[in-house]
Symmetry: C2
C-alpha cells in the first residue's frame, strides 16, 4: 500500500555513549559570575559550623565537600555556565530537606535545588557559592495505581525509570524527552518540561495531580492528591510547576499516567519545503486524529549534524525538510489503516517525497535517536547558542532563514528542528567556541523577533539563569511585578535558586 514508502534494512548505530563521551571532552566553561558580570546577593558564606550542622542531619557521605566531588554539580549539561559551590547535600527524605531549608533560611544561606542537571538555561547550577541540594537520593516510588492511573514518587526519580515502572502496570508517563535517561521528575515538574508527548497528553499543569513541596522556611506543604478532580480552594500546586525551584523545593509528586498504547508507529518523511511540512501537519491532524502522538520537524542541516556527529545513517535520501510522525493507539490494525491513508494521500498530493514507516520497536527507537541526538550533536561544533521558542505556525521556520542571512558565515551551523505540533521551534546556532560578538549579533534579535510575533521566548526550557534579561519580551511589567510579589511571599529572604527566573536588578 505504501508505494515508495518502505522500511530499509539499514544498520542503526547505537549512540548510548554519546553523553558520556561529550562530558569527558570539553574544557571548563568560564565562571558564570565573570562571563555575565553578576553581583553576588547579600547571602551568608558557608562556615565550618554550617557544614557541621549539615553533617549532623545527613551522614557525612551525603555532604560533598571535595572539589572533585562538587565540580559536576557546578557545571550545567551545556557547559555554558559554572558556579563554585563548595557544599553539595544529598537528602533522602522530605524531613531532611525541611531541616536543611529551615537552617539555610535562618542563616540566610542561598540554596540551589538540583535534579538531573539536564536543564538548558543554566537554572540548575549555582551562580556563586549557593549550597547545592540534590534530589539524587530521593528516588523512591511510593505507589502506582493501575485502576486510576496514578503514580506517586519522590522528586529524584529518573523519568526513564518511572516509564519502565508504570509500563509494567500497563500505563505510560505523560511526558517523554531526550534527557529521560538522567532527568529527574522533580526537575521536570519544576520546569514544566514539555517534550515529545505534549501534543498528545498536554502539559504537566494538566497531568500533575499533586505535589509535596518544602517552602524556603522549611514548612512542608503536602498538596498530594490522587484525583483528577479536586476543586477545594486555591490550586496551589501550580505555583511549583514551572517556577524552577525559586518558590519551593519539590519532594514528591503524584502524576496521572494514561493507559499505555498497544500499537506505536513512526513515519520518517522527506519533504521539499516548509509549506509542505505545514500542510502535512494539517493532514496528519485530520487523518490521524486521536492517535497522533508526535509531530516533529527537522531541517536538513540539523539531521546532517546528527548523522555526522555519531556516524548514523538516515533511512531516507536527503531532503530540505524531514518530519517524524508518531501514532500511538489501542488497535494496531486501525492505526495502520489511518496512517496508510494519511501517507498515501499526502504522497499523492505531492506533500511527502519519500519516507519510511515502522512499527518495529528497535527501529522506532533508532528513528527517534536521529531527532533526539541533534542537541548533543551540535555541541560537537564547539559552542552552541540554543533557542527554544514558540512561534505562530505560518512564521515558524522563517527565523532560520533570517538568521542565515543575518549571520552569514560567522556561525558554523544554523539549523531548526522541534515540536511542530506544539508550535515549538529549537533554533540552534553553533560556532567553534563562545564568541561575545556573535552572541550580540543573535541576542536580543531572536527574542525581539519572537516577541514581535507574540511568541514565547522560552517554550519549554524555562528562564533559568540565561534568559532572565529577556523575560520582559514575553511578560509585561504587571506580570513581572506580580512574579516579584509571589517570590517575596514564598521566599522573603530570597534563598531559593537566586539569580534565576526573576529579572536581576
Amino acid at each position: 500500500m505504501l508505494s515508495s514508502l518502505r522500511v530499509r534494512n539499514i544498520v542503526w548505530k547505537q549512540a548510548s555513549l554519546i553523553k558520556r563521551s561529550y562530558n569527558a571532552s570539553a574544557q571548563l566553561p568560564d565562571l558564570t559570575k565573570d562571563r555575565y558580570q553578576v553581583k553576588r546577593g547579600d547571602y551568608s558564606q558557608v562556615t565550618d559550623a554550617d557544614v557541621g550542622f549539615f553533617q549532623s542531619i545527613l551522614e557525612n557521605s551525603r555532604v560533598l565537600l571535595d572539589e572533585s566531588d562538587t565540580q559536576s554539580y557546578n557545571i550545567d549539561f551545556m557547559k555554558s555556565v559554572r558556579g563554585f559551590s563548595r557544599v553539595v547535600l544529598k537528602p533522602k527524605t522530605t524531613e531532611e530537606v525541611s531541616g536543611i531549608l529551615r537552617y539555610c533560611n535562618d542563616r540566610k544561606l542561598a540554596v540551589c535545588p538540583q535534579g538531573g542537571n539536564t536543564g538548558l538555561v543554566g537554572g540548575s547550577v549555582p551562580v556563586f557559592d549557593e549550597i547545592v541540594v540534590s534530589t539524587q537520593l530521593m528516588n523512591r516510588i511510593d505507589n502506582i495505581d493501575e485502576l486510576s492511573g496514578t503514580l506517586e514518587c519522590q522528586s529524584g526519580c529518573i523519568l526513564e525509570q518511572l516509564e519502565q515502572a508504570v509500563s509494567e502496570k500497563g500505563l505510560c508517563m505523560p511526558l517523554d524527552l531526550g534527557a529521560k535517561g538522567s532527568c529527574h521528575i522533580g526537575g521536570n515538574v519544576s520546569t514544566n518540561a514539555g517534550g515529545i508527548r505534549l501534543l498528545r497528553y498536554g502539559n504537566l499543569h494538566g497531568s500533575v495531580l499533586g505535589v509535596e513541596a518544602v517552602k524556603a522556611d522549611g514548612t512542608v506543604l503536602d498538596l498530594m492528591s490522587n484525583f483528577k478532580k479536586d476543586n477545594t480552594g486555591y490550586h496551589l500546586k501550580h505555583m511549583f510547576i514551572g517556577s524552577e525551584g525559586t518558590l519551593g523545593f519539590l519532594t514528591k509528586v503524584s502524576i496521572f499516567c494514561p493507559t499505555a498504547s498497544r500499537a506505536i508507529n513512526v513515519a520518517f518523511l522527506g519533504l521539499e519545503s516548509y509549506d509542505a511540512v505545514l500542510k502535512t501537519f494539517l493532514a496528519a491532524k485530520r487523518d490521524l486524529g486521536e492517535i497522533l502522538s508526535s509531530c516533529e520537524m527537522i531541517d536538513q542541516e540539523a539531521l546532517d549534524c546528527s548523522l555526522n556527529a555519531f556516524n548514523l545513517r538516515s533511512p531516507i535520501t536527503p531532503f530540505p525538510f524531514y518530519m517524524l510522525v508518531e501514532t500511538s493507539g489501542s488497535n494496531g490494525a486501525h492505526d495502520e489503516e489511518k496512517l496508510n491513508y494519511f501517507l498515501e494521500t499526502s504522497m499523492n498530493n505531492g506533500l511527502i517525497q519519500d519516507g519510511t514507516v515502522t512499527n518495529n520497536p528497535t527501529k522506532i527507537k533508532d528513528i527517534w535517536a536521529l531527532r533526539e541526538q541533534i542537541g548533543a550533536a551540535i555541541l560537537r561544533d564547539g559552542y552552541c547558542f540554543k533557542y527554544d521558542i514558540s512561534l505562530p505556525l505560518p512564521q515558524f521556520y522563517e527565523i532560520v532563514d533570517i538568521m542565515k542571512k543575518r549571520l552569514g558565515n560567522q556561525a558554523r551551523r544554523i539549523c531548526g528542528y522541534g515540536h511542530l505540533g506544539d508550535a515549538n521551534l529549537h533554533l540552534n546556532i553553533s560556532s567553534s567556541e563562545y564568541s561575545a560578538d556573535l552572541h550580540k549579533q543573535i541576542e536580543p534579535f531572536v527574542y525581539e523577533h519572537t516577541s514581535t510575533l507574540r511568541g514565547s521566548i522560552s517554550a519549554e526550557h524555562g528562564i533559568g539563569f540565561m534568559k532572565t534579561k529577556y523575560l520582559k519580551l514575553s511578560k509585561n511589567q504587571q506580570a513581572i511585578d506580580l512574579m516579584g510579589e509571589v517570590k517575596r511571599m514564598m521566599d522573603p529572604n530570597g534563598i531559593l535558586n537566586p539569580y534565576k527566573v526573576l529579572p536581576r536588578l
Copy 2:
C-alpha cells in the same frame, strides 16, 4: 453483531423548558446571612455617590438598581442562598471592569463577580450587599484559529455558543457540562469546571492557554497567550483558574480547542451491580483506549427521578445501575468496531445485561439528557443536599448505601451518579423542604467520610460559600495558611467575593 443491544424507536421528550419552569415555581430561599448566621465584613455601604460614579462609567441601563431587576442576581440556581445586593453592574470592556474595581477597592466596597450564575456552592451570588459585577455583556469572540486550535474571547461568552462557533472551524471546546446553555466561560475557568469531557481532554489547567484578569486594585493583568508551550517565568494564569473570583476578575480567556471528532457513539447500558460497573469501566479503558470520551454511572434511583420529573422514557428496561459510555474519534468504522468488541465481550462476560447504542445525533442528545437532567429533576422533590466528591474507585458507590442506612426514611431520595471515569461521584439527598436537622445528619458526616478515604470534598463544584467550613477536610493547615497569604497579596482589602472559598473566621 450487538446481540441484545439495539436502538429502540422510542419517542424522546424534549426538555428544554425545564430550567425555566423550575425557576418560576420555587419560593425565595432564606437570606444567607440569616440561615448561616454570617457576620458582615468591615466594608463600606453603597451610597448614592457610588451609584453616581458607576453611572458615570457605564450607561444607566447597565447599572441595575431596581429590586425586580437585581433579585435574580441575588439568588443562586439552586435557590439555596440569597443575598441582597442593591447594585448590579454590567461592564462590556476590561477597562470598565478595571475602573469599577479600582473605585471599589479605594472605597472598600465588596464585589461579587458573576457569570452565568449556574454554580452549585453559592459562590456566584452576594452574601450581603456586595456589588454584583456581571460578565453578561462581555460576550465577544475575538479570534478562532483553526490551524493552532485556539479560541480567544471575553469571559462572558456562553459555553454552548462557543461550542457552536468553534465547531464551525472543525474544533471543539475541551469542556462540556449540563449548564452549557447558560454558564459563562469566565465562570467555567474561575471554578475550574470539569464536566463530561474531562476524561478525554483533561481539566482547564491544561486547556487554558492564557487569561486576562483584573486585580482587586484595578490593575489589568494581560496573561494572554495562544501557545501550548510558554515557560517564561511563573505560570500566573493558574492563580485565576479555580479561585472562584476571589483573586481577580477574569475578563478574557484563550483556550486550546482540540479537533472536533467526526464520529460520536453513545452506549447506554444496564448493569446488575457496582462491581460490574467498575469492571466494565476497566474494559472500556482497555478496549476503547483513545476514543473513550465519557464514562458515566447512574443508579436506578437517579434515573427514575429524571424519567419521572420530565416524563422521559428510558431506552432500556430498569436495572440497579446504568452506564453511559461515549466514544469520539476520527474514523466512524474503526470506532464502531472497537465499541462492538467492547460491548460484545462485556455482555459475554456477563458484565452488561442490556443496552442500546447509537450514532444518531438526536438520540445521542436524548441519552445525554437522561443523565444531565438528573440534577434539575431532583430539585423537584423540594430541596436537595448535593455532594460532589472524588473517591477511590473501589469505595466510589458505598457512600450511597451508607447514607441510606444512616438516614432511613428521613430523606425523600438518596441517589448517586456521576463521572465514574474521573472518580467523581454526585451524591444527592432530597427532602420536601430544607431541614436543619437532616442537614446535621448529613454534614459533616459525608465530608468526613470522604476525607478519611483521602478523597476530595469538592471534585468539580468548588468551595464557594457552602463548603468553606469543610475546606479543612481536604486541605491541611499549611495549605490553608498559604491560601490566606495568597489572598492577602492579591486583594489586601478583601473586596473580591468575600465569605467565599477561604474559611470564615
